[in-house]
């Protein structure tokens, strides 16, 4: 059964996932060429000094990639399951509806995380070519909230698509937007260490919220 579900999600999402990683690596390539150009133009000492003293964010091009990726992923994954009340096809399958929904969400989350890890690896390699390990590791920590914002955006968008009640759709949409704003707030790229644990907790809560509309859809409403 899970093999079937895996294949279904793969058939729907393979092109989006491929596009995500291609765009991600195009961004990494762009970061690498900008760094090369910057160091060539200003000299390595001045460029390093800028990054260390002024916390210049040399990888900001990656900031919105997880968000756009997450919205696209959620829409491509759940809209074909929701239009024309097509969710009834899935919920008539002979398996527990929560397991079904959790599997679909895990597929989306794990796929995004895997691709995020590959993108982070690309950033690690490229920034490692120009900077010492301290700056490289701080850079990697700094992109974690963006990836978490991507996961929250994915969960929020999925919930909005699945949720049958329009009022609750709007409430979840607004809540997701403000949570997203919190995670994407401008910070110097060295200031994320203390707040990451809270960001993880928020992401976990979103993972639970999405199970409610699925439960209501399956169990029926008056």
């Amino acid at each position: 059964m899970f093999k079937s579900l895996f294949e279904k999600e793969w058939i729907k999402l393979r092109w989006v996932l491929l596009a995500y990683i291609i765009i991600g690596y195009a961004a990494i390539f762009s970061i690498g060429s900008d760094l090369q150009y910057g160091i060539k133009m200003h000299g390595a000492v001045k460029y390093w000094s800028n990054v260390i003293t002024y916390h210049t964010n040399f990888f900001s091009i990656l900031k919105y990639l997880p968000i756009f990726g997450a919205i696209t992923l959620a829409v491509i994954q759940f809209v074909p399951e929701s239009i024309n009340k097509r969710y009834r096809l899935s919920f008539h399958l002979p398996m527990n509806e929560q397991k079904l929904l959790i599997f679909m969400l895990l597929f989306g989350i794990v796929s995004m995380l895997l691709l995020d890890v590959l993108i982070a690896l690309g950033l690690f390699v490229v920034s490692g070519m120009f900077f010492p390990s301290d700056i490289v590791s701080i850079s990697l920590v700094s992109i974690v909230p963006w990836f978490l914002a991507g996961i929250i955006t994915y969960l929020g968008t999925s919930t909005v698509v699945i949720e049958p009640n329009w009022v609750q759709k709007v409430v979840i949409g607004i809540t997701t937007y403000f949570t997203f704003e919190l995670l994407m707030a401008e910070r110097l790229f060295t200031q994320y260490n203390n707040v990451l644990i809270y960001y993880f907790l928020i992401t976990l809560i979103y993972g639970i919220i999405i199970l409610f509309p699925g439960h209501r859809l399956r169990k029926g409403s008056k």
Binding site: K85, R88, L89, P94, N96, K219
Partner: protein, 295 residues
């Protein structure tokens, strides 16, 4: 003793203040083909949605295989082949992918039932469902339900969007299959001319009420149309004798389960003197419209 696969008891449903029906009762016997019929908007799909647990009724209950409709277990769902209104299907799959997808969910899966139908249709296995016509999609959905070899088929408005040829194809395949497998079927439709040789028992629902609940052949034999001319206005409500009355100018049609002389006596008792009243042979569609009304 007969075994009921579906038991609908005292079912009431409202959308806000709008009453869909009140006190709906019916049972579907094992191995029978049961028609849940009625015009559009009379609550057929609502009943299916309640039956499959997608909607909670305002009151009353439906049991399927002895389980309450909103608590149907996955094991029982595996015994039910459900055709959703509009022949809804996963449109991102092609012919082959959709068969592979469903095959792993159903222990009795017989892929040959599905591929026989696809081959008869001359369908390429890489044909994507989103690119199919409604008729082609209906055959894919029927093939999948048959391959599941269910004990119960629930077919919600199978005729929606199908031309006469596809409707006939659908019914012929279905009839052949259910006779061979002794499958219980609940079928809903607002187009009934194809169902004459298929359905055993029927319930026909009108606005807020049950219009008829009986054996289908008995309905066809006992329901009559009587035409007559009358100068003047006849204002009769449906009751035990008159199921429906329709008129255009001074030409009247009365639909009734009573014999001609009983209807004439009834009209006389209402001071409506009829000189000449003739019984008109009805098609199934005529009888259905005669019972449910044109409006």
């Amino acid at each position: 003793m007969s075994e009921y696969i579906i038991e609908c008891k005292n079912l009431n449903h409202k959308y806000g203040d709008f009453l869909v029906y009140n006190d709906l009762n019916f049972n579907v016997e094992k191995g029978k083909i049961f028609g849940l019929l009625g015009k559009n908007g009379m609550g057929k799909t609502t009943t299916i949605n309640i039956m499959m647990g997608f909607l909670r009724p305002t009151s009353g209950s439906i049991k399927i295989f002895g389980e309450e409709s909103h608590k149907i277990s996955p094991a029982t769902r595996a015994r039910i082949g459900l055709l959703h209104e509009g022949h809804v299907a996963y449109e991102f799959f092609n012919v082959e992918q959709v068969e592979q997808f469903y095959s792993r969910f159903y222990p009795k899966w017989k892929r040959e039932y599905y591929y026989d139908l696809m081959d008869k249709m001359g369908m390429n296995y890489d044909h994507k469902i989103s690119k199919m016509s409604c008729g082609q999609r209906s055959q894919v959905v029927l093939g999948l339900i048959m391959a599941q070899v269910p004990d119960l088929m629930i077919l919600d408005d199978y005729s929606m969007g199908l031309d006469a040829g596809y409707r006939r194809l659908f019914i012929e395949y279905l009839k052949n299959f259910v006779e061979e497998k002794n499958t219980t079927v609940l079928i809903t439709s607002h187009i009934i001319q194809d169902l004459e040789k298929l359905i055993d028992d029927t319930i026909i629902i009108g606005r807020n009420k049950v219009l008829l609940q009986m054996n289908f052949q008995e309905f066809l034999q006992k329901f009559h149309q009587y035409d007559f001319q009358f100068d003047g206005k006849i204002d009769l409500q449906s009751d035990e004798t008159i199921s429906n009355i329709e008129s255009i100018n001074n030409n009247y049609s009365i639909y009734s389960f009573k014999e001609k002389n009983e209807v004439l006596q009834y009209l006389n008792s209402k001071n409506i003197q009829i000189n000449d009243m003739s019984e008109i042979k009805m098609s199934l569609e005529d009888a259905f419209i005669g019972l449910t009304g044109k409006y």
